[in-house]
């Protein structure tokens, strides 16, 4: 389960963005998974991209400038 600080998520404005990001992150060999946006982060019904918190900098560098995202949050 995604408790503690083991995981982080990227929040997006739409599913299209989340799917695009998944492609980029997975493509670079970093493990990730699309999950429901946890209730405590947003009341949106969308999805977000979960990954190991240790990969945070790499994920951010991969997405920055390529694809618009709201923010990265630790779970």
């Amino acid at each position: 389960m995604t408790t503690g600080n083991d995981f982080a998520v990227v929040l997006f404005e739409s599913v299209s963005h989340a799917l695009g990001a998944e492609k980029i992150v997975k493509g670079s060999g970093i493990g990730c998974k699309l999950i429901h946006v946890p209730r405590h982060l947003s009341s949106d019904c969308g999805i977000c991209l979960r990954f190991h918190a240790a990969d945070r900098e790499r994920v951010e560098a991969l997405l920055r400038g390529k694809l618009h995202f709201f923010e990265i949050k630790l779970l």
Binding site: S14, S16, L19, L34, S43, I47
Partner: protein
């Protein structure tokens, strides 16, 4: 009797096998609503739509796939562009070869205070871009033209129009590619196209009920959405999202149709548009050449030059109505075509066939040379028979 389908300008038939299997695979194995949840099947559905958008972007040389709004057909796409982009007091220019998917929204808007100029075309349906230049005004907001006529197949000078509008960034250039998406090369950058409306079920080999609109970056704030509703995004707000493509895509999409469209576009990309074009040009050329000895009896419309038209050929046979001819072709020869006015009264006025209409044979990628020869033979036979009593 074997059926020969020559109504590809209305919708292409048959479709590639991959299109059918993509649709059944979606409904059998996925089935979920894309973008409405985070469960696996919903994400798989979202992926299908994403991939279709990416293929379309590749085909039209669109850098960001999210600039493509998926609609139910090109009519909806054109309505978003025209009704969403024009206000009372604005001026809009179109050609004399348009389909009613352009003319009806424009006539409606004219009644609401939008000024409309229709650039006349030659009797073969050709337009001189200089004539368009002459009617440009300070308040011109949109120039909308068809890429190729659905009546005569005439290809309009889209690239030249795009070029002459380059010094008017306030004018949005909208192209109706219903007849050409997949059949002729389209590059929104090279052609300076701001708004590209296309249908999925003709030369993109998708199912009916699919289409889309490309909107150049920076223009979405000038085009109001026609429909608003649930998008699966920004659910906490009661206002429509501003970002692409959600701004224009409300309600559950036609996922099964888009699955088929994606597979159809992939088929076109595999074959290449150039190869599709070469094949269709060859079929049209063969048909035109096959009618040469009937020129006293058969009136041909449009350029009568396969390199300047799509694989659409309109004609009339002297003293035979288009509907009688179509009945003969189907009953005696199994040839399916379309007679009449083809939803484009303005184009028929331009070529001088209003209200009589024309018989339209429209060839497609899956037609064969033999079918073209059979079509020529059927015409020859009808011409021979028409003078005889009881025919």
């Amino acid at each position: 009797m074997k059926t020969i389908y020559l109504d590809n300008a209305a919708t292409s038939f048959p479709k590639p096998e991959a299109m059918l299997s993509a649709m059944t695979a979606y409904q059998r194995n996925v089935g979920a609503n894309p973008g409405r949840s985070g469960h696996g099947l919903s994400i798989d559905a979202g992926r299908i739509i994403c991939e279709a958008r990416e293929s379309l972007a590749l085909l039209f040389h669109v850098e960001d796939p999210l600039r493509i709004v998926l609609t139910k057909n090109s009519t909806e796409a054109l309505n978003i562009a025209l009704q969403g982009g024009l206000r009372p007091g604005d001026h809009v220019i179109t050609s004399g070869m348009e389909h009613n998917s352009v003319m009806r929204p424009l006539r409606f808007l004219e009644g609401r205070g939008v000024e409309l100029s229709v650039v006349p075309c030659s009797p073969r349906g050709e337009m001189d871009p200089e004539d368009l230049k002459k009617v440009l005004r300070k308040n011109t907001r949109i120039v909308v033209v068809t890429h190729a006529s659905n009546v005569t197949g005439t290809i309009l000078p889209v690239e030249a129009i795009g070029e002459l509008l380059q010094d008017r960034p306030d004018v949005m250039f909208c192209v109706d590619a219903a007849q050409t998406a997949g059949a002729l090369p389209i590059d929104v950058e090279k052609m300076n196209i701001d708004l590209l409306a296309f249908t999925g079920h003709k030369s993109l080999f998708g199912p009916q009920g699919t289409g889309g609109l490309y909107i150049r970056e920076g223009l979405d704030q000038r085009i109001a959405p026609l429909m608003m509703g649930g998008t699966g995004s920004r659910s906490e707000f009661e206002e429509q999202p501003e970002f692409m493509p959600d701004r224009y895509e409300s309600g559950t999409p036609n996922t099964i149709g888009i699955a088929g469209l994606g597979a159809g576009v992939s088929f076109v990309l595999e074959q290449t548009v150039e190869a599709v074009r070469a094949r269709e040009e060859e079929l049209a050329s063969r048909f035109l050449a096959g009618l040469q000895d009937l020129r006293d009896e058969v009136i041909l419309y449009g350029p009568q030059d396969a390199s300047r038209q799509t694989a659409v050929v309109s004609f009339n046979i002297k003293n035979v109505t288009s509907s009688d001819a179509a009945d003969y072709f189907e009953e005696q020869r199994g040839i399916l075509c379309r007679p009449g006015l083809h939803c484009a009264p303005s184009a028929h006025r331009t070529i001088g066939t209003f209200p009589r209409g024309t018989v339209r044979f429209s060839f497609g990628f899956f037609n064969t040379q033999q079918e073209v020869d059979d079509a020529c033979e059927a015409l020859r036979e009808l011409v021979k028979r028409k003078g005889k009593p009881g025919s």
